[in-house]
Amino acid sequence: MNRKLLTGNAAAAWGARLAGIDYVPAFPITPQTEIIETLSGWFERGELQGRMTVPESEHSMITAAGAAAATGVRVFTATSSQGLLHAMEMIYTVTGWRAPFVLVNVSRGLSSPITLEPDHNDVLAARDSGFIQIHCANCQEVLDTMLIAYRLAEHQSIRLPIIVNLDGFYLSFTREPVEIPDQSEAREFVGEFDPGQIKFRASMPESQAVAVLGGSPYSYFRYETHLAMLEALNVYPEIADEFNARFGRFHGLLECFECDDADYLFVMMGCFATKAKDAVLRLREAGIKIGLLRPRLIRPFPSAAIAAAVSEKKALAVIDQNLSIGKGGILHAEIASVLYGIGQAPPILASFIGGLGGRDISQEEFFEIAQTLINASKTGETPPPRLLYTAREFKELKNLRAIAQVERQQLKENQP
C-alpha cells in the first residue's frame, strides 16, 4: 500500500486505473480535464492496457461509453457541468441498455451565468435518469468509491451505470494524502467484468434498446430498471463491508458524524459537508448537541437509512448546494418526502441554500443555521427557506458595478 498526495481528479483516475478499465471515451472540460489527461498519459506509457478515444462531444462520449459497455468491456468516462447536460439525452438513454460503466462528474455550476466553480445542479439534473449516484467528500473517498462503484454497477442484479460525483475545485484540485491500494488487491476486489447476456457477438445476435409500442412494455422496462436500482440499497452495504474488511475503510450509504446523541443535524452532500463537520465540532464545544448527516447515495435514495438516522431529532437543517428554480433545495424536498408519515420525524425541517457556484459557506453561517434550529425548535415553527447571501456580498457586487460604470464612462470620453 502506498500513500500519496493526490488531487480529487487524480484520485478518480487512480480509481479507474485500479479497477482495470479497458476503454475510456473522454472529452475535456474544466474542472474535469486532469482526470482524462492523467489516464491518457498512462495509456501512452503502456501503464494502462486498452484504448482511449476523444469524440467530438459529450453526447457522443456517453453514446460510445454505453455502446462499448453493451459490447462487453469495462468503461470509464468523466465530465462536468455543461458537458453532463450536453450528454443528457444519452445519460437517460444508456441506463435502459443495462450496460454498467462508471462516469465521474466533477460538479460545476450550470450556465447561465456561465461559471467554472462548483454546485450540484449539474449532477442533480441526472437524478431521475437511471444512473446510480454516489457523492464524495474527500479524495480518499473518491478513489475508494470508484472501486466500490464498479462492483455495484456490474452486480448481476443491478447492471446500471453509476455517476461518482466530486465537487469541482474544492475537491478536484485539492491535494490530500490518499492511500492507493495495491493493484492486484484492487483487481481482486473488483473482479472481472462479466457482461452476461448483454454483448454483441457474431454467434449470438442481439437486439438492444429496441422500440416499444404502447405503455405496457414501456412500463415493464422502466419498472424493471427502478427495481434494479432499489436493489442496490441491499447490495451496496455488502460491498461496502467487503471493502472495509479488505482495505480498512468504511464508506456507507450515509455518513453520520456526531449523530447518535445529537438533537440537531446539518444535512448536506458533497465536500462542503466537511465545512459542516468543522462547525459541528465547534458548536459541540459550545455545548450544542449537533451532528452532520451526509447521504452518499442520492440514487437510489437511502430513505430507510435516513429515516432511522434522523428519527427523534429535534430539528434538521438541509443545506442545499443547488437550487431548483421555483421550488428550492432539492435535497430538502427529498428529505421531506422521507419524513412524511414516519412516527418519530423531527418536527422542524429547515431549508438553506448556499454554496452556489462555489460561494463559500462560512463557519458563522453554520453557527447562524444552528441557532435558527434551536430557536425554531423552541417555538415549534419551521422558519422560511433561506438563501445564504450577506449584505457585504451585495455591497461588493454594487461596488464592482460602480467601477464598471466609471470605466465605461472613461472609455466613452476617451473615444477619438
Binding site: 471515451p25 460510445a64 462499448a68 468491456v73 454483441f200 422500440a211
Partner: protein
Amino acid sequence: MTDTRFARMKDLPSTHWLGAGTPMCAGCGGLQALHQIYDILGNKTVFVNAAGCMTLLSIYPFTPFRGSWLYTAMGSAPAGAQGIRDALDILLEQKHIPPEEDLTTVVLSGDGSAYGMGVSATSGAIDRGLDFLYICYDNEGYGNTGQQFSAGAKTSTSKGPRGYPGYKKDLFALWAANKPAYVATVIGAEPLDLARKIEKATQLKGSRLIIALSPCPTGWDFDPKESTEIGRLAVKTGVWPLKEYQDGRVSHTKIPKERLPVEDYLKVQGRFAHLFEPVRNEAMLAEIQQRIDDYWADVV
C-alpha cells in the same frame, strides 16, 4: 467496374436476410434498398440505428434482422458505432473473443440524422478514421413524423408556392471533402449498381457512406406501386446521380445517355404539384432543369 461477383442481375443474392412483415409503409424505397443491402452484408453485422422511420423495424420483442441491432438516438449513431467498434477491437486484441466473433459495424439512419442532427457525430467519426459503414436512407424529409422539412423539396412545413426555398445539402461532397474510404449514392431501383457498391464498401476499411435515395409514397405523395419507377426516373432525369468516391476521385457509375426532362420525375409526385397547378410555373421548372443540366455539364 471490375472484379465484381455481380456481373448481371441473376448474380444478385437469392437468399434474403431481412425478415418480412415490418411496419414500413407500402412501397417504401428505403426498405427496398435496405433489403438489397442486407442481402449482401449478411448477419455478421451490428446495425446502430438513429431515430427515424427504420427505428420501427425492431419493435420489442420482434426484429427482422438476423444479426444485431442497437438503437441509440437521432444525433449520435456514429458514436454508438465507435463504442462498439472500439470494444470489439479491444476484445480481439486481448484475445477475449476469437476473430470469427467480430462484427461489421453499420450505422443506419435517415436523412434527418445524416444531413442534420448527426453531422457532428459523423464528422467526428470520419475524423478519427472509424472503421464503419454508414447507410443513409434519404427520403428527403422527416418521414416518420409527416414529412417536415429536412433538406428536401416541398414538405409539410414548407407549403408556400415555391416549397422549400433552398436546394438539397450535398452530403456526398461533405463526406468526400474529408477523404474517407468510400462514398457512394445508390437507389433500390438500380439493384445491380447498388450491389456492386455495397460489395466494394465491404471490401474496404475505414469510414464508408452509402446514400440511398428512398422514394417515399407517403411523404412524396405517389401510389406505392410507382416507387421503383420513380426511382428509375430519378436516375434517368439526372436528379439522382449514381456515383462513388474513392482514393480522391469521384466517378459516375451510371450516366444517363439521354437524360429525360426533370419534369417527368416531378409531375408524378404530389409534393411537386405546386409546380404544375393551378398554373405551370415555367420559371421554376426551367430553374430546376438548369441546375441539373449544370451538374451534368461538369460530369460529361
